[in-house]
C-alpha cells in the first residue's frame, strides 16, 4: 500500500474521525466512499468501510494503534487484499499478511480476501480420501479431500490435538496445510509455530493467526485470509487442508462488531447475517478441477450441547461433523471421538469397497458393543456371545486409543482390525496386545517388505470378510510380529 499523501492527492477526498467506539469509528466526509473499501488514517493505520449512512461512514479498524477523534482519513479506492505467494510457506502471519514470527516482511502478489465462492462448473465429485492418521476417524468417520467437516466438542476434549495430528499427517503427504488461529492466546500461536518447526513440515505449512489482544476487525478477518491463501495454492493445482480454529470465537467477534455498530441483534444477540458471513466463507472450500480445499472448521460446544445456534449453523454448512465427547474424554479415551454422534456425509464415497464394508461393520459393532456395556451395568450375568462382544470391544477401544502426536497409516489399522475380527489375539492378554499392535505399526512404517505385503493383501480383498478369512488362513502376516 502507498502512503496517506499519495491517496489524498490521487483521489482528492478527505474525511475526519467524528466518533470512536472500540474497533469502530464514525467518519464524516469521503463523499465517493463505497462499502468494503479500505481507508487509511493519517497515522498510516488502515480500516475497512462497513457501512455508509446518510451523513457518516462506519469504519472497522484493522490496526493495533488507537485512533483519535479528529484524525484525517482518506479513501484508497481498493478492496482489502493480502499478499500471497509460495514465500508464505513455513511462516506465521496475521490476517493482513504481516509476519508474526520475527522474520523478514514477505512480498507477493495481492489477492482480495473476500471473494464469492466458486460456482458449480469448476467443482468435481469428491473421490479422493483424506487420511487423518487418527485410527478412530479414519475407520469410522472417514474424510475425503474437498470435504468440509466440522470438528465440535467441549473445551479441553482433544480437538486441537486431533487437528494437529491431521495437520502433521497431511503435511508429510505433501498437502499444503494452513492453520487459522482465530483470536486465541499468544502462547497458542507460539505452540503451533513450534509444532511446525519441531516436525520439520515448514515446506508446506502456514499459520494465519490473531490473538485475543488484537482488534476485533483483525480477528474477524483471520479465516477469510486463511481461505485466500488456500485458494492461492488450490489454483496452483495443489491439495490444501485448512483448519479454522475456531468458528464460534469468530462468530463472537462478529457479534461484538455488529453490536458496536448498532446492528439489530438477532438470536443470542448475533447479527442476522451471521449464517451468511460464515457460510459464504466455508462454501469457498471444496473439491475443484484445479485442486482441493479440505476445510475443518472447529466449533466449541458447552456441556456437550450440540444444539447451540452457531454450532447448528456450522453443521448446516458442512458435510458432517466429528464430535469430541467430554464423557469419553473423562473415561480416558484418546481421542475422545464419539463414533455414535459423528457424521461424515461424503467421506465414504472416496473409500475403497473394502474400507466401506469395514466401516459399516465396525459402526454396527460399536453400537452393539455400547448396548452390551449398558446392559452389563444392570449386573446381568453375561453369556458367551456377550462376553465375546465385550472382549472384542475392549480390544477395539485399545486400537482406537492413540498416543498424542502419532499418526497411524490407514492400511495398518485395517490389518489390525481384521486380525481382531479373525480372533488372532483371542488368547493374548490385554497388556501384551497393545505392544503387539505397536510392533505391527512400527514394522509397517519401517519395513518396506512388510508394508508391501500388508498393502497387497488389502488390495486383493474386496470385502472385509475376505480379508478376515485371508488372515485366518494365513495368520503369519500378524503372528510374524510376535
Amino acid at each position: 500500500m502507498k502512503d496517506f499523501d499519495y491517496y489524498l492527492d490521487k483521489l482528492g477526498e478527505i474525511g475526519f474521525v467524528e466518533e470512536v467506539m472500540h474497533s469502530i469509528v464514525n467518519v464524516s466526509g469521503l463523499p465517493e466512499a463505497h462499502p468494503n473499501e479500505i481507508v487509511m488514517f493519517e497515522s498510516g493505520d488502515v480500516g475497512q468501510i462497513m457501512s455508509i449512512i446518510e451523513d457518516k461512514i462506519e469504519v472497522l479498524i484493522l490496526s493495533r494503534t488507537k485512533i483519535t477523534v479528529g484524525s484525517k482519513v482518506v479513501r484508497t479506492g481498493e478492496l482489502l487484499q493480502v499478499p500471497v505467494g509460495d514465500e508464505f510457506l513455513g511462516r506465521v502471519v496475521d490476517s493482513l499478511g504481516n509476519p508474526l514470527d520475527n522474520g523478514k516482511a514477505i512480498k507477493g502478489t495481492y489477492s482480495p480476501i473476500d471473494t464469492p465462492p466458486h460456482g458449480i462448473i469448476g467443482r468435481k465429485q469428491i473421490d479422493k480420501p483424506l487420511e487423518t492418521g487418527v485410527t478412530a476417524v479414519d475407520l469410522v468417520v472417514p474424510l475425503a479431500k474437498g470435504q468440509r467437516e466440522l470438528v465440535i466438542g467441549d473445551r479441553k476434549t482433544g480437538k486441537t490435538q486431533f487437528l494437529l495430528q491431521t495437520f502433521l499427517n497431511q503435511a508429510r503427504k505433501g498437502t499444503i496445510c494452513i492453520y487459522a488461529v482465530i483470536g486465541q492466546r499468544q502462547i497458542d500461536i507460539k505452540k503451533h509455530a513450534e509444532f511446525i518447526q519441531k516436525n520439520k513440515i515448514q515446506a508446506n505449512s502456514l499459520v494465519v493467526a490473531t490473538s485475543s489482544s488484537d482488534p476485533s476487525g483483525l480477528i474477524f478477518l483471520t479465516p477469510y485470509t486463511a481461505m485466500t491463501y488456500a485458494e492461492y495454492f488450490r489454483d496452483k493445482g495443489m491439495d490444501v487442508l485448512l483448519i479454522l480454529d475456531d468458528m464460534t470465537s469468530h462468530a463472537r467477534y462478529y457479534r461484538e462488531i455488529s453490536l458496536l455498530a448498532k446492528r439489530f441483534p438477532g438470536r443470542s444477540s448475533y447479527p442476522g447475517d451471521i449464517f451468511y458471513a460464515q457460510a459464504r466463507l466455508i462454501e469457498r472450500a471444496g473439491y475443484f478441477k484445479t485442486g482441493s480445499i479440505t476445510c475443518l472448521p472447529v466449533a466449541e460446544s458447552v456441556l456437550g450441547d450440540l444444539s447451540g445456534y452457531i454450532q447448528t449453523n456450522l453443521m448446516a454448512m458442512t458435510d458432517g461433523h466429528i464430535f469430541f465427547d467430554i464423557e469419553l474424554y473423562n473415561q480416558g479415551k484418546r481421542p475422545a471421538v464419539s463414533p455414535y454422534l459423528s457424521v461424515t456425509r461424503v467421506g465414504h464415497q472416496a473409500q475403497t469397497p473394502l474400507q466401506k464394508d469395514l466401516s459399516r461393520q465396525l459402526s454396527s459393532f460399536l453400537v452393539r458393543y455400547d448396548r452390551m456395556k449398558q446392559f452389563m451395568h444392570f449386573g446381568a450375568e453375561a453369556g458367551e456371545a456377550v462376553k465375546r462382544v465385550l472382549d472384542l470391544g475392549a480390544k477395539v477401544d485399545m486400537l482406537f486409543n492413540q498416543v498424542e502426536n502419532t499418526t497411524i497409516p490407514v492400511n495398518v489399522n485395517i490389518i489390525i482390525l481384521a486380525g481382531l475380527w479373525a480372533g488372532i489375539w483371542n488368547e493374548t492378554e490385554v497388556g501384551n496386545l497393545k505392544k503387539e499392535m505397536e510392533q505391527i505399526i512400527l514394522n509397517y512404517q519401517t519395513n518396506t517388505g512388510y508394508k508391501k505385503q500388508v498393502d497387497s493383501i488389502i488390495t486383493t480383498s474386496q470385502k472385509f470378510l475376505d480379508l478376515v478369512n485371508a488372515i485366518r488362513q494365513n495368520n503369519q502376516i500378524i503372528s510374524m510380529q510376535q
Partner: protein
C-alpha cells in the same frame, strides 16, 4: 419558525467557524436569560453579556408581537450547527477584509451560506488548501514545488552543482 425569519438577522453575521462558536455561546446565555425574573433582566443581559450587534438583532426580533423567543433561538442554533464548513488552509493569517473577500467568493461559488474554518499553516508556503464536503483540493505552493522537484530533480541538481562549481572557481 422558518429559515426566512432568521436568515436576515443573526445568521448573516456569522462567516467563520470561530464567529459561529461565539454566537452559539451567546445564544446559550440569552436562552438562560429568558427564564430569569425581573423586567430588566433581559436588557441587562443583552447589554453586558453579548456583543452589541447580536444584542441589537435579538432586541429587534424580541420586540415583535407574538414571537416565540425560545423557538427563535433554537432555530438559529440548529441552522448554525447544520451550516456546511469550508476549511481553508492558508500560509498567512488573513485580515478581516481578506476573510470577507474569501467568504463572498466561496458563498457565491457554492451557492450556500457556509462557515469558513480558517487554518494557519505556514508549511504550505503559499496558495491554499480547500476542503469542502469531503473534497480536498491542494493549491498550495508546497505541492507545486514538490511536483517541480520530482519532475526536474536531475536538472535542478545539475544547476546546483554548476553554481557550486562556479563559486569554487571564483574563490
Amino acid at each position: 419558525m422558518g429559515k426566512a425569519m432568521v436568515s436576515d438577522g443573526l445568521l448573516q453575521s456569522v462567516k467563520t467557524k470561530r464567529q459561529a462558536g461565539i454566537l452559539l455561546e451567546e445564544i446559550e446565555i440569552i436562552r438562560k436569560g429568558l427564564f430569569e425574573a425581573g423586567e430588566g433582566a433581559m436588557n441587562s443581559l443583552l447589554k453586558n453579556k453579548v456583543r452589541v450587534e447580536t444584542a441589537e438583532i435579538v432586541r429587534e426580533t424580541f420586540s415583535k408581537v407574538g414571537v416565540d423567543k425560545k423557538g427563535y433561538l433554537d432555530k438559529v442554533e440548529e441552522l448554525i450547527i447544520k451550516m456546511p464548513n469550508v476549511s481553508l488552509i492558508l500560509a498567512f493569517e488573513p485580515s478581516e477584509g481578506a476573510v470577507e473577500r474569501f467568504y463572498s467568493e466561496i458563498s457565491e461559488t457554492t451557492g450556500k451560506q457556509v462557515l469558513l474554518d480558517i487554518v494557519y499553516e505556514p508549511q504550505i508556503i503559499g496558495g491554499a488548501v480547500i476542503i469542502f464536503n469531503g473534497r480536498y483540493r491542494d493549491y498550495s505552493f508546497k505541492k507545486i514545488f514538490k511536483l517541480e522537484f520530482e519532475r526536474g530533480r536531475n536538472k535542478i541538481l545539475n544547476m546546483a552543482k554548476e553554481r557550486q562549481a562556479n563559486v569554487n572557481i571564483k574563490h
